[in-house]
């Protein structure tokens, strides 16, 4: 909504460097946008993990022959 441009590129695949460009329309700072994006991503991944764990506990799926399914404890999702 406030972001005009958002993109990333890898200058060279062998180097572990990435260029990321965030451009806003001026109402918010680009660093805020970056932080919000990362926060959202963390929330998203944690949410997926929780749902996955819940559904695994319910056991409403098939395990094929020869495959393993080991349910492990969900350790605390650390908050900063």
């Amino acid at each position: 909504p406030n972001v005009d441009f958002c993109g990333y590129s890898l200058p060279h695949p062998s180097e572990s460097k990435m260029h990321m460009r965030i451009q806003t329309d001026g109402t918010v700072s680009a660093v805020d946008v970056l932080n919000k994006g990362l926060d959202d991503l963390i929330e998203l991944v944690n949410h997926i993990r929780n749902i996955f764990h819940q559904r695994s506990e319910e056991g409403n799926f098939e395990v094929e022959e020869g495959a393993e399914f080991v349910l492990e404890e969900l350790d605390d999702l650390m908050d900063e």
Partner: protein
């Protein structure tokens, strides 16, 4: 965890040392890598949890001692090398684990072994011998594919099959054969005629077999639902696939947090620069 260093004491087989070491490195070892520490490659990178020396927390030792001999009980006209010689094929099952230090207690119930004992490493003939000590270390898939616990990981979008005009009767039965089993269901509608209905689009492989038949061309639309993803994760056997998924989520969150910290530090430096 994968074989990283091979101490070759004796190798009179045909395969060169380095070629066989390469093959040994790719063998998946069935042990939970989270129970082990990384080994520091040099003194600068060593830390409290990361020793530069070989300890029982960062190295697993296997022994490979095979000698090929003639099978004296073989029949004179036997042709197959399995009958004529003993130990002519060196398989991954011949790796023996040597417990060191605390490993014997920690892994008493679940001894460290290879995932699959049938992997052929090399072949030998009588009087050829291999005597080697193999050291396993922990690593990540980015450095060498042998450390990746994932065989293949892919994703696809959920296929969406829309029937534009009703398909009935014998056409419906033919329609059902053009899709994988379970995708199309035939129901009897109120008039008693068989009508084709989409039952389970997940099983569809998007083969577009339908469009090869002219009569169905206008009646069906094959698209994908743009925000429904189906992921496939295949494990090499080291860890179960669902555990891999959860660990991957954890790693992704860790990386996000790293970037966040870095961004915060950058912000303070920029603010100081601007003043």
């Amino acid at each position: 965890m994968a074989i990283e260093t091979v101490y070759m004491y004796l190798n009179t087989g045909i395969m060169h040392d380095e070629v066989m070491s390469h093959r040994l490195g790719l063998i998946p070892i069935k042990v939970d890598p989270r129970k082990f520490q990384f080994k520091a490659p040099s003194k600068e990178l060593a830390g409290p949890e990361c020793d530069i020396s070989h300890t029982d927390r960062n190295t697993i030792v296997f022994n490979l001692n095979i000698k090929c001999t003639k099978n004296l009980k073989a029949l004179p006209n036997s042709v197959h090398p399995n009958d004529k010689y003993i130990n002519s094929s060196v398989t991954s099952g011949m790796l023996e684990w040597v417990p060191n230090g605390a490993q014997g207690d920690v892994f008493k119930d679940d001894p460290i072994r290879v995932v699959n004992t049938n992997i052929l490493i090399t072949k030998l003939r009588p009087d050829q011998e291999i005597n080697a000590e193999l050291h396993c270390q922990k690593g990540i898939g980015r450095e060498h594919a042998k450390w990746s616990p994932v065989a293949t990981a892919s994703y696809r979008l959920l296929p969406d099959i829309q029937i534009l005009e009703p398909i009935t009767g014998t056409d419906a039965e033919k329609f059902q054969t053009l899709f994988p089993d379970g995708v199309v269901k035939l129901v009897k509608n109120s008039k008693g005629i068989l009508v084709a209905k989409i039952d389970n689009p997940r099983k569809d492989t998007m083969s577009r077999e339908v469009l090869r038949h002219k009569e169905f061309e206008k009646k069906v639309r094959l698209t994908r639902i743009r925000d429904h993803f189906i992921f496939n994760i295949e494990s090499t056997g080291v860890l179960p696939a669902n555990v891999l998924f959860e660990e991957a989520c954890k790693k992704l969150v860790e990386k996000c947090r790293l970037v966040k910290h870095a961004a915060q530090n950058a912000r303070t430096t920029v603010a100081q620069y601007n003043q």
